[in-house]
């Protein structure tokens, strides 16, 4: 009886989104069925052009589609296509969605996330913010919410329904899922607990505190995690394909591997588990130097890792593919300086190299290593899409 209920429940979980006109949670679809579909699409891709969703699903199941999918990560930059100011892009869901849709429709790609800025969660905890006219919103670091070590335990859990910026993010996801339908895949996005805390304490103090006062830091991380779990679950409920967690500090740019595993590992494990339990894809974004792929895979079991630099234990892209290519879908990693100041043709040449190194056998999504430069030349975003179609 229970098994019947489970089967009907899963079937309902798959069919309802389809009837609503968007992607169902892939985790609810039996793996063998997805693999069969991916194999069929891979074969079909030799003869015909696949749809964006077919291309993406084939890639996510580590099969080669007609050409590799891409994600130009056109977030802040997309506001320029829709004539939206940066503060409006950050704060008004209609404006955010309109901008991202403009990016998706004008530039292209198969998937994207409304990664508006990294301060959404911190702002809702009460961190004072700065919303510049032409740059990414950021905390007012002169007035950190966590002023000293004793403030870690004073951090109060907030209710999701009263969290204005997180609610705006959820509304943006709803609009995007409704408008995109089966034309592409929208991913949710959240900063990891340590990332959120860095926005409220400042990275320099936080780094010291992680070594000197780990239990105080972890008390705050628990409070943040208790808020992030319902937040990512609510993102899943909007119909996104999965949720991307930004884990910047799991890299040489952050903590040592050992310290990260102790301080943040258990919390991101909880969050990733919550996403997976709902049947959604867990993706990890880490644009630090030498990201710790092994630790992040151990704690979060992501399906996708998006990266800007080679992991700490790989010295070449080919080694990265060999070591991790069958464990996760790799997504990256065109550099920010090249996208900011290179010519479109230089961008395409770099993409071509990366495709050659990483696309063989499927499981690769071409993308910038980090958000496309918000004020960067948009023709370079188009070059990424073109390169994926041409060389992928």
């Amino acid at each position: 009886m229970d098994r019947k209920k489970e089967t009907f429940g899963a079937a309902g979980g798959i069919l309802k989104p389809i009837f609503e006109g968007h992607m169902p949670p892939m985790g609810l679809i039996p793996g063998s069925l997805l693999d069969g579909l991916a194999r069929f699409s891979s074969f079909r891709g030799h003869l015909l052009r696949l749809t964006n969703i077919e291309r993406l699903v084939t890639t996510l199941r580590h099969r080669e589609p007609d050409h590799i999918p891409c994600c130009p990560m056109l977030y802040g930059a997309s506001r320029r296509l829709a004539g939206v100011s940066y503060p409006d892009f950050a704060l008004k869901p209609d404006a955010t969605a309109e901008s991202l849709l403009a990016g998706f429709e004008l530039i292209g790609g198969e998937t994207f996330a409304p990664a508006i800025d990294l301060s959404i969660e911190a702002a809702d905890f009460g961190q004072q913010m700065v919303y510049p006219d032409n740059s990414t919103p950021h905390p007012d670091y002169a007035h950190p919410l966590v002023k000293d070590v004793s403030d870690y335990r004073r951090l109060k859990r907030i209710e999701l329904k009263e969290a204005h910026r997180m609610q705006a993010m959820l509304e943006t996801c709803r609009i995007l899922v409704r408008r995109i339908g089966f034309k592409g895949a929208v991913s949710g996005f959240a900063f990891s607990p340590l990332g959120v805390l860095s926005m409220m304490r400042g990275a320099e103090h936080l780094f010291r505190d992680c070594v000197n006062y780990p239990s105080e830091v972890m008390a705050a991380l628990q409070t943040i995690t208790d808020v992030l779990i319902p937040y990512v679950e609510a993102q899943c409920d909007t119909g996104v394909i999965g949720v991307t967690l930004d884990t910047l500090f799991a890299s040489w740019s952050g903590l040592s591997k050992e310290l990260w595993e102790k301080i943040e590992g258990p919390f991101v494990k909880e969050i990733a588990g919550a996403i997976r339990r709902k049947g959604y894809i867990v993706a990890v974004h880490n644009c630090g130097h030498g990201p710790y792929f092994d630790s992040q895979i151990q704690f979060m079991e992501p399906s996708v890792i998006t990266f800007a630099e080679l992991p700490d234990d790989c010295s070449t892209p080919k080694e990265l593919k060999r070591r991790y290519g069958d464990q996760v879908v790799l997504m990256g990693y065109v550099s920010t300086p090249l996208l900011s100041y290179g010519t479109p043709y230089e961008v395409m040449q770099e993409c071509s190299k990366q495709i050659e190194d990483l696309a063989d056998g499927g499981g690769f999504i071409l993308a910038p290593g980090c958000e496309f430069p918000p004020n960067g030349p948009l023709e370079n975003a188009m070059a990424i899409v073109k390169a994926a179609q041409l060389y992928g």
């Binding site: 740059s135 950021h138 320099e204 040489w252 920010t336 900011s340 430069p373």
Partner: protein, 219 residues
């Protein structure tokens, strides 16, 4: 002989306390060394050796940024202790700051303290610094080095204008740039004299940039 061995042990302990970034032990060992009448220059050398140890280990990724930060804390405390907190009037004058619009100063703070530790006379302009203040800061302090940091692609564009203006108004100043969205190619194309990829390499890069400017050798 016994006295010499005691001195050596104390200095070794101090060096070790620095790279293990122990607040308590560094303070105690430092007091002990000062009470034993060890020359400030020897103490300074031991502190720097401890820091050098961490810098080398950071280079091979055996330690992380928090270790480096805490280690710099210990060295700074030690150096302040032997100088009585008096700012040095010696050393190569160097202006450092984060460009306008950018509030991220972790990298700049680390680099500024490394420069101070290694004897540069540092004029730290802070973060979100308008370009004209860099130009003025270099002129007023007769800086041999200007170190610019940007952590956002939206703000790094400021660097190019600052470099151009400083090159005209203070041509003898070596300009070194760093930050997440910057790379060596960009630094070269903007006319900088050096690029510091990380805190680990900044000292060598700066020395090389100073040498290039002094000798008039293009980068």
């Amino acid at each position: 002989m016994k006295e010499l061995r005691g001195k050596g042990v104390l200095l070794n302990n101090l060096e070790e306390a620095v790279w293990k970034h122990s607040n308590k032990i560094t303070g105690e060992t430092l007091d002990e060394a000062l009470n034993a009448g060890i020359a400030p220059d020897d103490i300074r050398h031991a502190l720097l050796q401890g820091f050098e140890h961490v810098r080398r280990r950071l280079m091979s990724n055996e330690v992380s940024i928090p270790d480096m930060l805490l280690c710099i804390d210990r060295v700074t405390e030690g150096l302040n202790s032997i100088s009585g907190g008096k700012a040095t009037e010696e050393g190569i004058p160097l202006v450092i700051g984060v460009v306008e619009g950018d509030p991220h100063d972790l990298g700049k703070n680390i680099i500024a303290r490394i420069y101070k530790t290694y004897g540069y006379r540092v004029f730290d302009l802070g973060r979100d610094v308008p370009g004209k203040l860099f130009v003025k800061g270099v002129q007023e302090n007769k800086a041999n080095v200007l170190a610019l940091s940007a952590m956002m692609s939206t703000t790094m564009v400021e660097m190019r204008e600052i470099i151009q203006e400083v090159k005209v108004k203070s041509p003898g100043t070596a300009i070194i740039v760093g930050g997440a969205p910057v790379d060596e190619t960009l630094a070269r194309s903007w006319g900088a004299d050096g690029y510091a990829e990380t805190a680990v390499t900044v000292l060598e890069e700066t020395q090389a940039a100073i040498g290039r400017v002094r000798e008039g050798i293009p980068w």
